[in-house]
Amino acid sequence: MYRKDKFMKQIYDILLEIVGPGFVSDAQEEKYIYSMDPGTMPACEPDIVVMPGSTDEVQKIVQAANTYRVPLVPLGAGLVLSGLSRALKGGIVMDMKRMNRVLEINELSRYALVEAGTSQGMLQAYLRKHFPNLKHSAPDAPPAATVAGNVCIHGSGHMSHAGGFHSDMLNGLEVVLPTGEVVRIGSCATSPYWFARAPLPDLSGLFLGWAGTTGVITKLSIKLYPNYPLNDVSVFVCEDASIIPDILYQITGTQVAEDVTTWMTPKPDWAAGFFHCNVNYGAKTKKELIWKRNLIRSAVESYIDAKTGGFLPLPSMMKQRFLEVPARQLSLFADVRKGGGFEYVGAIMPVELFPKAYDLGLDIADRLGVSYSMGCRIIGINHSMMFFYAYAFNRADPDDVARAQSALEETNKKVLDLGGIPWKAEAPAQKEILRKMDPNMVDLMGRVRSILDPNHVMNPGNWEEDR
């Protein structure tokens, strides 16, 4: 179906014409670096890498890809770690990061309109400088990660207890369809304001969670939240996985926290076997902060009275690492095997599955001998959790990479068996998900893609059944 080999030279010239000589490359260096992300998925080399600077350029690139039936893969920062931005069938990788302007901040309606390549860090810095009373929900991905990339994959972050998935925080999109039309979705389709997806028929779902197979997001509007001047974290510790669902239920029931994240790690030694629930909250005044702290505490008072759990006595200076957004230290996990690599299965599942999810992770890590870390972030008011199983690997050691891959594969399968769903699943795991999925949904997905992308150019190889 793809005619890339025949037309690659022409494609290159067309792209050169669109973006100029500085922003297109078919050199071995770009092909190498853009063939993989820092996860375990094997390299898939693109033929060309292009970097558009505007929606107009994106549109022209998409049209060219369509005309010549060349695969096209949109790329943010490439930090998804499950290889979703690899060119599985070759073709063009389109690096969106030149499109990184903050276009509008609406303070009263609390939203930000940004170009799709805007990084989390730059949006955070922009708000800090110009609108210090506002913040967005940043994931724990490094600050180079893009806002659009994270929204597209249903990411989560530091406001997810209050606001849900990052896709829930979306107000509207500008998208270039695979056939080249530029479409606005949400209130921005009929209003100059990008304030909500309601009350129109919500087409944003056609572009969320699809791994870039249905179009290219060029602009998006996301909700912003109050940025309180005072922030604190309470860390609840216990040793029994079976009580965690109730702990989280009680704490989230107070609805005063912004982020509730639980972490379990075998290293350092003193952390092994303990569950630490970080509860982050903010306030305008010290009195309010203390009130929130006490309310959170009272939610789990029965456990404190029974001495089965309690809050760590952390002095202020030791809390800073838990208050940092994003948490820089998380990237350190990549060096656990002295090998610059880690990848994780983020399983979206109901909170009640926590004990089984935890046991599953321990079992896999133990049997396969992988270095691991586990945790979960609460989405909404205990509505679900993103339970992560992170495995570190040494990318210079093929056996170590293979071990991590096996662990990830097995984790994906067992998560599905448990009733959870791997988030931002790598291509093999997508097939597992499709195998388990309601056949009518699978069919509908196929039909949607056929309508939107009749020539099947957008990130092919993703969300495809084994036939």
Partner: protein, 319 residues
């Protein structure tokens, strides 16, 4: 806890005879009773013993267990030649930068998990951990550092270490083959030796007396001496000396947040009302707990050793 005398006598008797007393669940582990007892009967050590016997935990079990794991000896100690003065920094490697000339003359510094004094388990109803670890700690200090270097004096940077070796160890019938010296005594002597180089700080200071100093009240006069020598006026205030208030950090470990808030606020307001420019600490935990709130109230938080160092160097930070 508030009692009238009659009730206090009743509760103490229950403790002595091994019955349950509300003291065992309500004790804030501030160590005051150890100081107040005129007969040296170690009332606080007995409370801790009873707590452990009865399985009464001041702090939740997971926190207690995790703290013990965090502080356990790593077994990485290696022999090192030392010479006097040997400064014991316990398990505070982050503070070794304070041990420098001119205040400390050619010091040898020992620090690490294998020489952690373990006295903090008094706050967690774990005399058993002290009994288990402390003999090994003393042996480590003696055999890895002091004995082969022909040094028999150990200068303890922290009140806790000095209290461990001079007060608690004898009470627990644990032998200590070296002579503990409080860092106050050492600093006071050094200030005498360097008196011509002292630039008096001419400021009012509030002193945060830590709980562990209540085990060794005989060392308090050194604090007064030191302040006098560096030209600081230790302000008279309500919550100092015998009425000192604990920093509150342990109360937070005990999940008594509101009590911790209360005593911290009273303590710091008391300091602030004196117009003190500096809030001076000797205990690293007190300092880490109260430094920020003290600064918010307009006082410059500083360790006693560092304040003396600055007085010698002529660069005291502006209070």
């Amino acid at each position: 806890m508030t009692f009238d005398l009659a009730e206090a006598k009743r509760e103490k008797t229950k403790i002595n005879t091994g019955e349950h007393s509300r003291v065992l669940t309500e004790c804030a582990t501030c160590y005051s009773c150890e100081e107040y007892c005129p007969n040296g009967n170690h009332p606080f050590y007995v409370i801790v013993e009873r707590q452990e016997e009865k399985g009464i935990l001041p702090s939740p079990a997971p926190i207690t267990r995790q703290q013990i794991l965090m502080m356990k000896p790593k077994g990485t100690i290696t022999p090192m030649k030392v010479s006097a003065p040997v400064i014991d920094m316990c398990y505070f490697p982050m503070l070794t930068g304070s041990i420098r000339e001119p205040l400390y003359e050619n010091p040898s510094i020992i620090v690490g998990s294998d020489i952690f004094c373990n006295i903090m388990w008094l706050h967690f109803a774990r005399n058993s951990v002290i009994r288990e670890q402390l003999p090994r700690v003393i042996e480590n200090i003696w055999h890895y550092y002091l004995k082969d270097s022909n040094v028999d004096e150990l200068i303890c940077f922290h009140d806790e270490c000095y209290a461990t070796f001079s007060h608690l160890a004898p009470a627990f019938n644990i032998q200590v083959p070296f002579k503990p010296i409080h860092v106050f005594e050492y600093i006071s002597g050094r200030l005498d030796a360097l008196k011509d180089t002292i630039k008096p700080i001419n400021a009012r200071v509030a002193y945060q007396r830590p709980c562990s100093n209540r085990l060794i009240p005989e060392t308090q006069h050194w604090v007064d001496d030191i302040f006098t020598k560096i030209g600081a006026e230790r302000v008279e205030r309500k919550y100092d000396r015998e009425n000192a208030l604990c920093c509150g950090q342990i109360l937070r470990a005990h999940q008594r947040e509101e009590m911790a808030d209360d005593i911290q606020n009273r303590n710091l307001d008391d300091m602030k009302d004196t117009g003190a420019a500096y809030c001076v600490f000797n205990c690293p935990v007190c300092m880490v707990t109260l430094a920020e709130p003290a600064a918010e109230k307009g006082m410059f938080p500083i360790h006693l050793s560092d304040l003396c160092q600055h007085a010698l160097e002529g660069n005291v930070p502006k209070g």
